[in-house]
């Protein structure tokens, strides 16, 4: 019987909600790791743009879920792509 109550507690979503107001987000997987990427090409504009904001900034890891290793490679690729004008340094909307 004791085992049953334990299980019930775990399953009750209300109780969990009371304890903690914010539920932890499901951990995002690094998209480069999923595809087993070993090198990020600076010429691959489309792929790079996915990891940039529309203002031209590099999106932080906490938002995209990219792992540290791939984020470093990504940052280099973005900076190179900026030099040859494939992606912007900044995009100004209001002047």
């Amino acid at each position: 019987m004791a085992r049953d109550t334990k299980r019930d507690n775990k399953r009750d979503p209300k109780k969990k909600g009371e304890k903690r107001e914010k539920r932890p987000m499901r951990k995002k997987k690094c998209k480069f790791c999923l595809d087993r990427v070993t090198h990020i090409d600076y010429k691959d504009e489309r792929r790079i743009r996915r990891f940039m904001t529309d203002r031209g900034k590099i999106t932080p890891r906490r938002i995209t879920g990219t792992c540290a290793k791939h984020q470093r490679m990504l940052a280099v690729a973005v900076k190179r792509a900026r030099v040859i004008a494939l992606v912007p340094y900044v995009r100004e909307y209001y002047r």
Binding site: D35, E45, R46, R47, R80, I84, Y89
Partner: protein
């Protein structure tokens, strides 16, 4: 010898003839310094993400080659002198294995690529 990749953006006003002589010039320059060209690629005239020297467009060229660092120095120097070059970037090519066949510098023709058109096919079903 290391493998390098050199990206060059040429002025949009350069004629077809001018593009050909420019390619030949840099190919020869690399070959003369003892470098081996493995690939020359062009993306044609393409819109720039931001204006460079007031130009909204440019001709994209990519040279892949192996060579000593003296080649890089000379190539970079020439690219900086050349007024039809809006921008250039020379980076170490990490994807190269170092055993790609080298092309004959006298007959090298740039291969045309259209990344925009390829995208649809290439990236279908990908997570990006």
């Amino acid at each position: 010898m290391r493998s390098y990749e050199c990206a060059v953006i040429l002025h949009p006003a350069v004629s077809d003839d001018g593009l050909r002589t420019s390619t030949a010039k840099y190919v020869e320059l690399i070959a003369k310094g003892g470098g081996e060209i493995t690939k020359v690629e062009t993306w044609g005239k393409r819109r720039l993400s931001y204006e460079i020297m007031k130009q909204p467009e440019g001709h994209y060229f990519f040279y892949r080659f192996r060579g000593a660092n003296s080649v890089i120095d000379e190539l970079g120097r020439q690219l900086r002198i050349d007024e039809s070059v809006l921008r250039h970037l020379i980076v170490c090519d990490e994807t190269a294995e170092g055993n790609e066949p080298s092309l004959d510098p006298a007959t090298v023709e740039p291969t045309m690529r259209h990344p925009e058109r390829e995208r649809e096919e290439e990236h279908r079903g990908e997570r990006y």
